[in-house]
């Protein structure tokens, strides 16, 4: 049998071999629609909103904490044990004044930084609801903020363990945002989501706030 003969035989076979009956197109479509479209609508924006808006809220709270940190130092003598630890990082009761003066510029920088992080996350959430182009812009911003985060982490004035922990977690979240592709896919967002969950960022903040009602923004 030569190649031409085989081709002819295969062409004949094509008419009869595994020729399916009419596929149940409607039934298949129903399943496709249920899986693809609701998933597609739900998949990115709500997850982004779930991920980023709490983060933004967390950062607003963080910003509030940064703003009132001098006040916390002043209140160290009456603060609960946990906050006494915070204030002790800024110095003893006798050195509270100088420490506050020293922390002034730092608090300003940190507050500005937290404002920018908040703005970035809100921008990202908003951009994601509409389209993708802002992602690239936001990624560049995140890169810039990541550098600032690392500078703040290295600063001796950011010695407060809670602030350190917050900055550590923000460093991680920002690093993940920097690595986001232009077309954001669910797994990428899931990783950020997972980071926030695993590090219990929100519960820790709520705990801090519950212990320090004056720190509510």
């Amino acid at each position: 049998m030569d190649d031409r003969e085989l081709e002819r035989r295969l062409a004949e076979l094509k008419e009869t071999w595994r020729n399916p009956q009419d596929p149940p197109l409607d039934r298949i479509w129903q399943a496709v629609e249920e899986r693809a479209f609701p998933a597609r609508e739900r998949r990115i924006p709500p997850r982004w909103i779930r991920t980023l808006l709490p983060l933004a809220a967390m950062l607003v709270l963080g910003f509030g904490l940064g703003q009132i940190s001098p006040a916390l130092v002043k209140q160290s003598s009456v603060a609960p044990p946990r906050m006494a630890g915070v204030s002790s990082s800024a110095g003893s009761a006798e050195s509270a004044g100088p420490a506050l003066n020293d922390q002034g510029p730092f608090v300003g920088v940190a507050a500005d930084y937290l404002e920018r992080v908040t703005a970035l996350l809100v921008t990202l959430a908003d951009a994601n609801r509409r389209s993708g182009p802002a992602i690239e812009y936001s990624t560049a911003q995140a890169r810039d903020l990541l550098v600032t985060t690392r500078l703040l982490l290295d600063s001796p004035q950011a010695s407060d363990p809670h602030l350190q922990a917050l900055l550590d977690d923000l460093e991680l979240v920002l690093a993940q945002i920097v690595r986001l592709p232009r077309r954001v896919a669910a797994p990428d967002v899931y990783l950020i989501d997972q980071t926030v969950d695993q590090r219990e960022v929100l519960p820790r903040l709520r705990e801090m706030l519950a212990e320090n009602p004056t720190s509510q923004p």
Partner: protein, 177 residues
Amino acid sequence: MDDSELIAGARAGDRMAARRLYDRHAPRVYRLLYRSVGDEELAREYTQDTFVKAFQRLEQYRGESAFSTWLHSVAMSMLFTGLRRLRRVRAREFELESAAEVASPEGDSDPHLRDRLQAELERLPVRLRMPVVLHDMEGFTHREIGQMLDIPEGTSKARLAEARARLREALAGIVAE
């Protein structure tokens, strides 16, 4: 309305456009999958997976190849993933089937050339059978097959040649009779 308009509509969330796109391509995708697996239920499942994945990844389609080629490459990906999964699940049965095939008597037990050709085609490993199905039965070019299977065009040609050689060899005895 051509594919590109329907794709734009589907990307924008227009389900009617998505449905029309599906209606246009699903029969061929289903037939190819059915021919690949020979089982209606699996063919339905893989067709469903193909379109779910295709609509979820529609933004990744850049129009560099025909939409049907891109869609069939998604189908092939679903097929191979599904077959790997199936093979794991049915590893033992698969081994038994293979053993039975090897043990089955060769030669002229099947007098009908068409039946024998069919049997030999089904006996080919998937990597060799797919180029035959895609090229000789579905009419895709080697370039399209290369895109679908993610292999160079030359590899598609080589595999088809190897598959045909095996089929010719297997059928030589019957034709000689």
